[in-house]
Symmetry: C4
């Protein structure tokens, strides 16, 4: 259906409603979409609670069908109104949009509905599309950029945490042994990460004095090195702060990508000229 090229006039109108945020119709569309997404996620959650599912099973089933059909219509409209549908379909949001619609259709073929719940939870990612149009985006961009810039540092840090956990976890396994709950090296490593990150479930705890001394060491290491990612991100965040401008909040008509720079004359992805309406 993406092959049909409808009249630019009404296609442009749909584009304004779906991607734009300035017109009343565009705003209404965003709000309705946001509510539908949140509603569908609440349904997925409540369905998993046995007592609710027994009572309201048919209501949940109908709700799910209504949401699925609405999302299917929206998906088709999005394909129609952008000028390069292929770019949209294989973009991140295009795939998320598709995955949001198919789980219910798949339920005809796959009986394990629990497995489909994950795909349905992916709908939550769609909330970002709407939220990115509002004023918080500048902040989110700042955070994302700080995270991206400190990526390699965080990789080193996690690698360091894992190596400490493997070595100390192995030693804990030798000290405590299976009789005190440390059944294998992988489980001891799991316990070591639980302790190092200061989560401390308490399902496995050292019983021997030597094990408790080593556990103490692990905790103090964990308590101390929590400062490392904080220092990294603080420093990166401080350096990226204040460099952002408010977003244009518009999308390219051709490929649907966001226009970040408000004075851009051409789309940075596909090069289409922007009319800056």
């Amino acid at each position: 259906m993406s092959a049909t090229k409808p009249h630019p006039g009404w296609r442009s109108k749909i584009h304004t409603i779906i991607y734009g945020t300035h017109t009343p119709a565009g705003k209404l569309f965003d709000i309705v979409l946001l509510i539908t997404i949140l509603y569908s996620i609440v349904i997925v959650m409540l369905e998993s609670v046995k007592s609710y599912d027994n009572k309201y099973h048919s209501f949940f089933d109908i709700s799910e069908w209504v949401v699925t059909i609405l999302f299917t219509i929206e998906y088709i409209l999005r394909i129609i109104c952008v000028q390069q549908p292929k770019k949209y379909i294989f973009s991140f949001y295009g795939i998320v949009d598709l995955l949001s619609t198919i789980p219910k259709y798949l339920s005809f073929f796959i009986l394990d509905t629990q497995f489909l719940a994950v795909f349905r939870a992916l709908r939550l990612l769609r909330v970002f599309r709407i939220l990115k149009l509002i004023r918080f985006v500048g902040e989110a961009n700042n955070l994302t950029r700080a995270l991206k810039q400190s990526r390699s540092k965080i990789f080193i840090f996690i690698f360091f945490v894992l190596i400490i956990s493997v070595i100390l976890g192995t030693i804990m396994y030798l000290i405590e042994g299976p009789e005190n709950g440390f059944k294998s090296i992988p489980q001891s490593i799991y316990w070591c990460i639980v302790t190092l990150t200061t989560v401390g479930f308490g399902d496995i705890t050292p019983q021997t004095p030597l094990g408790q001394m080593l556990a103490t060491l692990i905790m103090i290491i964990g308590y101390g090195i929590i400062a490392v990612p904080t220092g990294i991100i603080s420093a990166e965040y401080a350096s990226t702060r204040g460099d952002t401008k408010p977003n244009n909040q518009e999308a390219c008509k051709n490929c649907g990508v966001d226009i970040i720079n408000s004075d851009a004359a051409y789309c940075r992805k596909c090069g289409t000229k922007l009319d800056n309406e």
Copy 2:
């Protein structure tokens, strides 16, 4: 009673005692009020301990009545001595003051005294009124301003934490399932937040190797992203620091609002001329 307009002379004196902090009477009033508030909160707490309540029930009841009557008198005096009582009554502190007095009166009509305990705990908010008159206010203002400025960033951050929790919680539910304590998706999400925030109660713990691997991932994510709010608030706090002046520590006679700028000639809320005594 707020309609009666008493003579400005003694009304002004009461105002000085209740809102002022320079005169000995004003200081004494603040100290007595602080002790009464803390005393009434301790009573609320001890009443909830069964063994104490059985022994000292009548003592707690009398204490509560004494405190309630004292707060009622204070509330009436506050209404009388400000020039625009309506502004005070519908202000934040006006409502808190009212809610501090009514629970005991309501106990004539409502038998569920436990429900009233929350309203009585609200009295703790009144402590702020007195504390804001002392030297810590400058610091508190700094903190509040830093928190306000990073509001949208913290909103994004919490939203991000919730989305991670919903998606990973759903996956954990599918991996572990009801037989390992993950009874429903909402409960799995609850567990995921418990783990991500490094609280780690340990009432629900993953039992399967795959579940433990994902739990490890969640912990490391949580351990890593704790740096994000720290970085945000550190940066904001650093930029707001040092901009504050010591407070005037006086309140407007007309509407009871604090005078922040010591060189202010008119109240910033109601415009009443300040005499700067």
Copy 3:
């Protein structure tokens, strides 16, 4: 005995050995004292382990007597060799030194030896005396100064944490109630602090969906506000850093106070002229 004024010559020698760190005898004294303190603390700990105490009771008893007598001699020597013994006796370290010696003497009169263990643990504070003479002091001073400067901010922060805990703890008590482990308001507040500080023992956990939702809120608040003290101390620490000079590592002969500034000509406490040997 502090009244006896011995000849300045040998008194000065003892002063150099006890307070000085430059001479070989002074270094030896410090090392012996450090070992004695650590040894006495290990004895206190091991005595509390039932199985060890049954086996080695007499050994622990003799060790304790030897340590007590050594500390008594040292305490007397310190009083003799400073010029103003009263200032030393009533200083922080003077009181700690005294408390380190008396527990064993008190054991003649008080039979509850467990109670005395706390006083004996105070000996650990004596380690600071020796450590403050070494190179880490500059860092410790930096930290102490940063903590002192952010004292009022940390007070506000803890106060804020306590108020949140009282209000949310009371609400949790009403939601969960005694049947789910929240037996009284004080205990609910205790649980709330356990959760807010991300400790999460797991001895009490919410069982109702509403309680779990509120618990989630408490955790996210706790996870978020952990950034506040970090931001405060980071900012203060950054501003105090780099202002410190290496310590003179000497003590005033008259009152025993440390000489912080290496170019000081007079003791900042008692005004005695320093000879800067």
Copy 4:
């Protein structure tokens, strides 16, 4: 065998393959080594899981022999191709390389194979050798330098945490006593560190109101002072950031040490002239 001095020509070639990263053979060597190391660690872990060990014992045994022989060959080649083998043998990586090979040989003499698992886990340290050749090294150097510079501060901090734990742990032991799970002072100190670092296993929890109040104090202290190492490392990290250059990624032919400065003409360790091929 390190005594044999082979012809510089082929020795130089082996050096380029083992230590170099520019040639295809050098890259292949690094990748094969990395896979072998990770494979051997996975084998160590899986061997400890009883159910896997019963099934695949002979496979694990053969794998371990293959890995051991490969590591032995590599170790011998490294000794041969560096010009000063003694410096390599007694360097950190030389010892790690040796410890990676001997556990399996020792299994002829020592029957406690669990004890050998720790030595085999040390192989993980070898991963650093390869990783240090890739682009993350600059970041890791930054982190290591920041950690080294804040070493004495972190020492003071850990010392401070330990002293608080010893004193508060002793008090908790006296308040709660053996009947509430605080069996001895060392165990109470262990509990205190578990609480102070916000790990909170929950295997031991205070039962008396007084104990819970003190526990609350410990938690708030722990929650507050977590900011101290963060502040320290943030400040140090911020000051070391941006001073690093990309690494030369080559090693000295004589002693095997890394060449950090790309414009270095002589090895900073042994002074050998570098040819900068």
